[in-house]
């Protein structure tokens, strides 16, 4: 039996009446949402509905105009820029549609970078990065520069980088949006595997197939609000 207190502890993300305005534009209009540890939540909706803004709020990349955002017990509103950076470093892993790898670093160093920024020595960081690349099946591409990697490989490098500091929450913004279908499938499999070993996921996507395969809960957005929430049966 789970007590209320236990339920609170298991909440990784809690948004409470979050508003975000850019001038006259309301990107988020009173969003409240909870994500518990080990959940895989997909956020879907048309372009401009506020999905990416939501992701920015959770990642601490942007601040709400009103409302509170708590991630793994941290009230992001109370953190300054450095505090937010340290929060991202320890709690968040991010995967982007366009990978956002550093062009002038090979795959291994792109992955190791996340640990090195925390002060982990280069040798140790590279060792861990190699382990991750190995787990993701691209260890043989460790010395390859991003420009020479396929889209799927790039995204796997990006996932490895996101997992480098063992984050409480993995955020994925259209992770298959720039990939061909085969690479997209590989990334989906990867996300499912990660979730199955307990990684909490928040996926923003246009792709119903991605949501359907990878998420256990679907949050549909419209005009900056949560329009509908549903449990996806096959993963529940």
């Amino acid at each position: 039996m789970t007590t209320d207190h236990d339920r609170d502890r298991q909440v990784v993300v809690r948004l409470d009446d979050v508003h975000k305005e850019y001038g006259d534009l309301k990107a988020l209009d009173g969003v409240s949402l909870e994500i518990r540890a080990g959940e895989a939540v997909a956020v879907m909706g048309p372009s401009g509905c506020g999905k990416s803004t939501l992701l920015n709020m959770v990642a601490g990349l942007d601040r709400p105009s009103a409302g509170t955002v708590q991630v793994n017990g941290h009230d992001l509103g109370g953190l300054n820029e450095t505090g937010l950076a340290l929060f991202r470093r320890r709690q968040i892993g991010m995967v982007f549609q366009f990978f956002n790898l550093l062009d002038d670093l090979p795959a291994l160093d792109n992955v190791a970078l996340a640990a090195q920024l925390t002060g982990t020595p280069a040798k140790q960081a590279r060792h861990r990065a190699l382990e991750l690349l190995d787990e993701l099946g691209i260890a043989d591409r460790r010395n390859t520069y991003p420009a020479a990697l396929s889209g799927g490989e790039r995204q796997r490098v990006a996932v490895a980088r996101a997992l480098m500091n063992r984050p409480a929450l993995l955020l994925a913004d259209e992770p298959t949006g720039a990939l061909d279908s085969r690479s997209g499938e590989q990334v989906m499999d990867l996300l499912i595997d990660l979730n199955q070993i307990g990684q909490t996921l928040l996926i923003v996507t246009h792709d119903p197939k991605l949501a359907d395969r990878c998420a256990g809960r679907l949050v549909e957005f419209a005009d900056g609000r949560v329009a509908r929430e549903s449990v996806l049966e096959h993963r529940s």
Binding site: L61, A85, L86, R88, Q97, D103, D104, L113, L117
Partner: protein
């Protein structure tokens, strides 16, 4: 409104910071260059112009009246190569029996001329009129400043001659006489020489002038020619002090130009590179390659023109005080010291043209760029050595923000090279100025008294509405020595004196009394004269006469002669004067009297009480606190400091612009780094490190270059001969600090854009490609 103009205006608006950077760089550079060119122009043009207006004598030649007849001299006017000639005029060497305001003591040269016109040497009227009859005299004034009140109509009494009335004051750029009288007057003045004034067909160089003069006077009796004053000597006297500043100004001007070109090239290259997508869009919209070039050139021209206009205005405002200092105390005649319009034109047009040329190379790159490639530019993989270095840096023990920063310069080698060159020039400037300041401070210290205040006590002159001293020369010296507080007293006579065998005019300071132990610091080689038959002189004086320490010369004054040895070369000094002892002067003029007394007071003496005591004892003595300041030192240090600030600001702006471009280009990388936890401090460290590394390298190269520039500069200031001790200004702690100059410039320039990058909201760039 054309599409090019519209697009350029939009680009300027979009790149406000870059526009301001270009404007400021051009402003600073224009000011620097304008001052350098202005001085260069002022040292020659005003003299040449005034000299030509007066049809100045390229050679003013004095002949011994006993060896050559007027007819023989008149014949020289028709010799080949003589373009125009005036004379012969009788010339008398006499002395003023009483002092006259505006005229020096000692020898007084009077020339007999019927009028100020003629083919050569047309003195300009300052006040009054030309002498019309015997009994009248016209004075030659060194400047065209208004005539002193009461001078016109006053009487001039000459030794062994009549009393003459001053009826006019003229100024001659040829310096052909101290005064003029009508020819009929000359017999009463006992002329011993005749003067001829020449202009030649060929007188472009001193050698040509000498050859032309030799041809004109060929066949005249040997030894007839006793003295020659040439336009080159006059021009040197006019421009010597200003020319001393020219190497400084010139070097700083060149540094300013070099930094401008580098920065402008870098700014425009950066604008083109960071605007590849913009170029692609323009081309896709239908802009022709030439129109694209037009957009970029217009974009940089707008701030360049504004910067050049403001820089020219600032330069014009600074030029007046600069020239006033540079030409202080110079015999300028009718020459108007100012800057020619062409200098302003260069400032207004030259720098913008230079900016356009610097912008043309990267703009032509935009011209060649295919639209499709331009639109997709920005993510091209880099390869080669740079990547291997990045990889190696990633494996070092350095904090990752530092190693990422160190790798950044490798991403854009050309931009890095331009930025580093700008920092390097900044370091060279700082090093040069540090060295110059040390040298000039040591030079200024050499001229100061060791301790206690110093006074110059002048003997009063009736002509200046002053009281004549009631004490004799020796009594005055004794009085000054006996008053409380006096530590040392010396007396100086100032008189014209010739060197046998040398035609250049000259004068001498002859000193008696207590020796100043601090005088040794003013000697570059040898020592100060102490006994009879000894003299010291400035480097200019010695070099013009081909003399050096140890040489023997014969001094002559009013027919008397004495032998003297050059025992010292001073650090600096007027090229017309030598410094000797009273005992040496006694051989030439036993009746000489001091014109000024130098009094060194004991430390702590009440200066005003001493002055009051002197005035009470003899109202004909006029004490003044001596000026211990060194104008050249203060001027050079001030100029160098101003230029250093300007050039350092420009170098910092170059760094600022580079970091700005880097942060813009790396927005996506920056966003990613922040998303994985790079703190604002780490972002700042990364960008500052990227420039500090360049600053360190620039410092290591720039310091030796600056040291060499300092040595070249101090070795080539002809008017000052710095002793080795004044040139050896470098010490390890100072050099270590200078080593940080490049880092300081880099950090100063990089900090603001780096901080701004650290605060950048990057949410959007992460989601848009």
């Amino acid at each position: 409104m054309s599409a090019v103009w519209r697009a350029a205006r939009a680009a300027v608006k979009r790149r406000r910071l870059q526009t301001v950077v270009i404007g400021l760089v051009v402003l600073c550079s224009t000011t620097t260059v304008l001052l350098a060119l202005g001085l260069l122009d002022a040292v020659s043009n005003p003299f040449d112009k005034a000299f030509e207006q007066q049809r100045g004598a390229q050679a003013t030649v004095v002949f011994d009246a006993g060896r050559v007849t007027p007819g023989q001299l008149a014949d020289t006017a028709a010799r080949p190569g003589v373009q125009a000639a005036a004379g012969p005029f009788d010339r008398a060497t006499t002395r003023l029996a009483e002092r006259v305001p505006g005229l020096g003591d000692g020898v007084f040269q009077v020339v007999g001329r019927a009028d100020p016109g003629g083919p050569v040497d047309r003195p300009a009227l300052v006040g009054g009129r030309w002498a019309a009859a015997p009994g009248e005299i016209v004075l030659n004034q060194e400047t065209s400043h208004p005539v002193l009140p009461g001078l016109l109509g006053s009487k001039v009494r000459l030794t062994d001659g009549p009393e003459l009335t001053v009826v006019g004051v003229y100024t001659s750029m040829s310096g052909s006489a101290d005064a003029w009288a009508v020819p009929e007057q000359m017999a009463a003045l006992h002329p011993t020489a005749r003067q001829m004034l020449y202009r030649f067909d060929s007188a472009g160089t001193e050698q040509e002038l000498d050859r032309s003069l030799d041809r004109a006077t060929e066949g005249l009796p040997a030894g007839a020619r006793t003295a020659v004053n040439t336009s080159f000597v006059l021009e040197r006297a006019f421009s010597a002090s200003a020319k001393a500043y020219l190497p400084f100004m010139g070097l700083f001007g060149v540094l300013g130009l070099a930094v401008s070109v580098l920065i402008v090239g870098n700014v425009v290259s950066g604008a083109v590179v960071s605007g590849f997508r913009h170029i692609g869009v323009l081309k896709a919209l239908g802009f022709t390659p030439n129109q694209v070039v037009g957009v970029y050139l217009t974009m940089v021209s707008l701030p360049a023109v504004v910067g050049a206009a403001l820089g020219t205005a600032l330069g014009a405002a600074l030029a007046e005080p600069v020239l006033r200092v540079a030409f202080q105390g110079v015999m300028r005649g009718t020459a108007e010291i100012g800057i020619s319009p062409w200098v302003y034109l260069v400032g207004l047009l030259g720098l913008p043209v230079l900016v356009l040329l610097a912008a043309l190379v990267p703009a032509l790159r935009a011209h060649r760029l295919p639209a499709a490639r331009a639109i997709s530019a920005g993510s091209a993989p880099r390869s080669g050595r740079a990547l291997r270095v990045q990889q190696w840096l990633g494996g070092t023990r350095l904090p990752r923000a530092v190693s990422l920063g160190l790798g950044q310069p490798l991403a854009r080698p050309a931009r890095t090279a331009l930025t580093m060159a700008a920092i390097l020039l900044g370091v060279v400037t700082v090093t040069l100025t540090t060295g110059l300041t040390s040298t000039m401070v040591a030079y200024a210290e050499a001229g100061k008294s060791e301790s206690g205040p110093r006074l110059a006590v002048w003997a009063g002159r009736a002509g200046f509405d002053q009281t004549e001293p009631k004490l004799t020369d020796r009594q005055a010296e004794e009085l000054l020595r006996s008053l409380p507080g006096a530590a040392r007293v010396s007396a100086d006579a100032i008189t014209e004196v010739g060197l046998a065998g040398y035609t250049q005019p000259g004068g001498g300071f002859f000193r008696r009394g207590d020796q100043d132990p601090g005088a040794a610091r003013q000697i570059a080689e040898g020592r100060m004269p102490t006994g009879p038959g000894e003299l010291a002189a400035s480097p200019t004086f010695l070099s013009r006469r081909g003399l050096s320490v140890g040489d023997r010369v014969t001094l002559q004054l009013d027919g008397r002669r004495t032998e003297a040895t050059v025992v010292g070369r001073t650090i600096d000094g007027d090229g017309r004067f030598l410094y000797s002892t009273w005992s040496t002067l006694a051989e030439l003029d036993p009746a000489a009297e001091a014109a000024v007394y130098q009094v060194q007071l004991k430390p702590g003496t009440d200066v005003q009480a001493y002055i009051d005591a002197v005035r009470a004892a003899d109202p004909g003595l006029y004490p003044q606190p001596a000026d211990d300041g060194s104008l050249p030192a203060e001027t050079v240090v001030s100029f160098a400091s101003v230029f250093t600030v300007l050039l350092t600001v420009v170098a910092c702006l170059g760094v600022f612009n580079t970091v700005l471009l880097n942060t813009r280009e790396r927005r996506r990388d920056l966003g990613m780094l922040k998303s994985i936890g790079m703190t604002p401090r780490q972002v700042t460290v990364m960008f500052v490190t990227s420039m500090a590394a360049l600053g360190l390298v620039a410092g290591l190269i720039g310091i030796p270059v600056g040291m060499v520039a300092h040595r070249l500069l101090v070795d080539h200031v002809g008017a000052i001969d710095f002793p080795a001790a004044m040139k050896d200004v470098w010490h390890l702690p100072g050099l270590a600090l200078l080593g940080l100059a490049g880092v300081a410039i880099a950090v100063l320039g990089a900090f603001v854009p780096a901080r701004s990058a650290a605060r950048l909201t990057i949410a959007k760039v992460l989601h848009n490609e």
